[in-house]
């Protein structure tokens, strides 16, 4: 994983999504596993909402991801699954075993489709046509077994046919077309054309010359003047051939016939039809060359029913071959390691650094001549531990640009699809974020950006009518604020409508009142299944997004806040705690204690003269800095720091800024600036006022990190 990220970090504005493919495939794999497990555990007679919502969310996440990456076949299939699951969780349908069967099969099909994409489109695509139809029938309330004529055969890569379908009706025989079987030599007649220049086809001949093992090719007479025909002997599948030819001629222009069977034969007809269908616009293919020749066609109605069983047995092992190959390819090039293990590693290295510092300290008085080797060894140790610490740290920290650079492409496609004009602005890409957080924040952010584009930004005409610019703007920003990381998704669209949310909430039986504050009303959109969209699109509108967003962020101990003005846009702020973010800190001393200030909030520091400080009512103090009065906070006072040395006193002011206001902190001394690893104080203790976390200093002791945001708020109110 580290490799992928490093590659990516160099290419901030690059729209190349391929660097995220691996992450997506791993996530999708996990989601599929989880969905499968939940489906198997599902108690049909008393399926509870939580389980159904969980399964639904898995399907939704896969759909979202695959749509982002342009895997339209997977997106289409999961969209259908989602529709069925959506009706289930709304209790519009009663779950029946056939649904679980078809969903499990769809999960398998998605898996092999994904594996195919992961392998760069190698291998045969699984047909999803029949699955999609079965799902939509079930979603429409039909039980497929009731209508034998419609009952489709199981897809080729799916496990053995389910008992339910078998019992319901003798499945129509899938047509076996021998040419599709890989590894078996066969003679084909390939017709290419119509071509503008017949020489184009020569490139095909070169292919056979250049690629060893592909087979033999020779010219034969072509029936039409503007086409070329070849006789080909090969072991490759039609799909593979078409993929190869695609470099030189369009797929539509290629016609593959089995030379062994006469062109008038049923099998060849079928085969030919398949090839044509793939190229035909608006055909059954879902963006890919999905209808593999030889795959059982869903609508093979004229096939004899009698040989069905025999054919199925024969077909099964063949179909399983590509699947085995795909699973082998699904192996990843990265290792997913439990975050805990990385944390442990980081802690151990931290200990090592402290031990090393201690050794360095103790060896300082040694005679350089007498202990030359020892000192040289210690110097090596120093260098090695530092290198080690750096590499270990780099495992976890990655800049936000990794997350942000996912979005321009996605937003572009989405805006095109919706007919909107959207600009994306990203700020604070350099903000470093824990890798664990990055992985978990990506999905919620994707949802938020999609939401903004789909619901927030208006159509260009509407925007012009409202006096806004034609282009909507979505702003993504990341910053460290008050010891947290705040990621904002802002749009200048139509904003949230208070009335609409309240009435929707009432419809759904959520208790609301007119007296609720705006903030409370906005929180309603986080309820599961809540959507204010007027229609369900495959982009959003099912109301699943915000529910997932909230859940994922709550799992990270974060919070989501919404701010919106109807007609002017909305802003969603995701605030995450710094579990392990590295921060530039400034250490200050008060009596014998050390506190860390986030350097990003420090404006300036100066030695204070008694004249500059004036006391106002209730004893609070103000200091005048260049014609600006700002409140003074004495750290000694608010942290009740004990004084042992009466000669020391606080006479240095550090001006910090947060949330747009400034305060002056009164400290004894400035100790230095350094990078600190932010540790969560709350994992073993509770929240401490004015403290955002803790860190470990070079000598192994703990220092508290001040929450400047909290201090500023305290002084201003």
């Amino acid at each position: 994983m580290a490799e992928t990220y490093q590659e990516g970090s160099g290419a901030g504005a690059d729209f190349d999504l391929s660097q995220f493919y691996q992450i997506f495939f791993e996530e999708a794999g996990e989601n599929l596993d989880q969905m499968e497990q939940m489906l198997l555990d599902l108690d049909l007679s008393s399926a509870n909402d939580e389980e159904l919502n969980g399964i639904f969310r898995c399907a939704h996440s896969i759909k979202g991801g695959s749509a982002t990456f342009g895997f339209s076949d997977v997106a289409e299939l999961t969209h259908q699954m989602e529709s069925l699951l959506d009706r289930l969780r709304r209790h519009e349908l009663q779950p029946i075993p056939q649904m679980v069967d078809v969903l499990l099969e769809s999960a398998d099909a998605s898996r092999s489709l994904l594996a195919r994409h992961q392998a760069g489109g190698q291998g045969e695509a699984v047909s999803t046509t029949s699955l999609v139809r079965r799902i939509s029938e079930l979603a429409a309330g039909l039980v497929p077994g009731d209508a034998p004529a419609v009952a489709p055969p199981p897809p080729p890569a799916a496990p053995a046919p389910t008992p339910a379908t078998q019992a319901a009706a003798p499945a129509p025989a899938p047509k076996v077309v021998t040419p599709a079987v890989a590894g078996q030599a066969r003679t084909l007649e390939i017709q290419i054309g119509p071509l503008d220049r017949l020489e184009q086809a020569d490139a095909i001949k070169e292919l056979f010359r250049d690629i060893p093992g592909l087979g033999a090719i020779r010219d034969i007479e072509s029936p039409q003047a503007n086409t070329r025909s070849f006789a080909v002997e090969t072991t490759s599948t039609n799909d593979d051939l078409l993929d190869l030819f695609a470099f030189h001629v369009a797929k539509e222009q290629v016609l593959i016939r089995d030379a062994a069977a006469p062109a008038s034969g049923a099998a060849a007809d079928e085969d030919e039809e398949t090839v044509l269908a793939a190229g035909a616009p608006g055909g059954e293919a879902y963006g890919f060359f999905s209808e593999a020749p030889g795959a059982p066609r869903a609508d093979a109605p004229h096939a004899a029913q009698a040989p069905a069983q025999a054919v199925k047995v024969a077909a099964a092992p063949k179909a399983s071959e590509p699947k085995v190959a795909m699973q082998a390819q699904m192996e990843s090039t990265t290792i997913r390691v439990d975050v805990k293990k990385v944390d442990q590693l980081i802690n151990l290295v931290g200990e090592l650094v402290i031990t090393q510092a201690m050794l360095a300290q103790n060896s300082r008085g040694l005679d350089a001549g007498a202990y030359q080797q020892l000192l040289a060894g210690l110097a090596d140790l120093d260098r090695n531990t530092r290198d080690l610490q750096e590499s270990v740290m780099s495992i976890r920290m990655i800049p936000m640009s990794i997350v942000f650079s996912r979005f321009p492409r996605m937003l572009r496609d989405l805006a095109n699809k919706l007919g909107k004009k959207v600009e994306l602005v990203t700020l604070g890409e350099a903000t470093e974020l824990d890798k664990g957080l990055v992985e978990k924040i990506t999905d919620p952010l994707t949802h938020l950006v999609r939401n903004s584009c789909d619901h927030g930004i208006e159509m260009p005409a509407d925007r012009l009518a409202k006096g806004k610019s034609e282009h909507g703007t979505i702003t993504l920003s990341a910053s460290h604020q008050g010891g947290s990381i705040v990621i904002e998704v802002r749009d200048d669209g139509r904003g949230l409508s208070r009335e609409k949310i309240l009435s929707k909430a009432q419809e759904r039986g959520i208790e609301v009142s007119e007296q609720m504050s705006d903030a409370e009303v906005w929180q309603l959109i986080f309820a599961p299944g809540f959507s204010t969209a007027d229609e369900v699109t495959d982009v959003s509108g099912r109301g699943v997004g915000m529910d997932v967003v909230k859940r994922n962020i709550a799992a990270l101990n974060g919070s989501v806040e919404i701010d919106s003005a109807e007609g002017y846009g909305m802003k969603v702020s995701v605030r995450l705690p710094l579990t392990l973010a590295i921060m530039d800190g400034m250490s200050v001393g008060v009596s014998d204690e050390v506190y860390i200030l986030p350097l990003s909030s420090v404006v300036e520091s100066f030695q204070v003269n008694a004249d500059d400080v004036s006391t106002v009512a209730q004893g609070s103090q103000l200091v005048k800095v260049r014609d600006e009065y700002m409140p003074v906070i004495a750290l000694e006072k608010i942290f009740q720091v004990p004084r042992f040395d009466p000669n020391k006193s606080s006479n240095i002011m550090v001006v910090v800024e947060a949330d747009g206001s400034r305060v002056a902190l009164l400290v004894d001394e400035l100790l230095g600036q350094h990078q600190v690893v932010v540790k969560n104080l709350e994992s073993n203790y509770r929240k401490v006022p004015n403290v955002s976390g803790a860190t470990i200093l070079g000598d192994g002791t703990v220092a508290l990190i001040l929450d400047t945001g909290g201090l500023v708020r305290r002084a201003r109110h």
């Binding site: 802690n347 151990l348 203790y685 929240k687 006022p689 470990i696 220092a703």
Partner: protein, 162 residues
Amino acid sequence: MSVMGKTAEAVPTGTREYLTFRLDQEEYGIDILKVQEIRGYEPPTRIANAPNFIKGVVNLRGTIVPIVDMRLKFNCAQADYNSFTVVIILNLRNRVVGIVVDSVSDVMELTPESIRSAPDIESAIDNSCILGLGSVGERMLILLDIEKLMSGVDMGLVTANE
């Protein structure tokens, strides 16, 4: 987290092992399975506005661990910090907490028969945190439900609404 009943495992069923420690003249026992390690005392970083028995936080191999002085919590007469002062690091429900005690004695096996229920007495801590009194020969052990004791709101280790 704030209010927890005596968990099923907290009620002694079979023979259990207890780590015993001294506070002043009294001897206490806690479930050995809750103990992560025993360390010497090192001065912690003070936390402002915390109760006096919370000494602060220390760095335990990269983890920030709060230190509770049981002698102050239990109103003992003396609470000195010297090279013999011992900190027992506890691992309670994924939280790590250190407690300062006068000394650690040993590990004892107690059968349920040798544990009597504690009489209602007035003490510095909530009575429900005392599992019972164990007797080993002449010695009497006060068995603590350390998990419950540490997660109580009055310990100040957790926020009330957690």
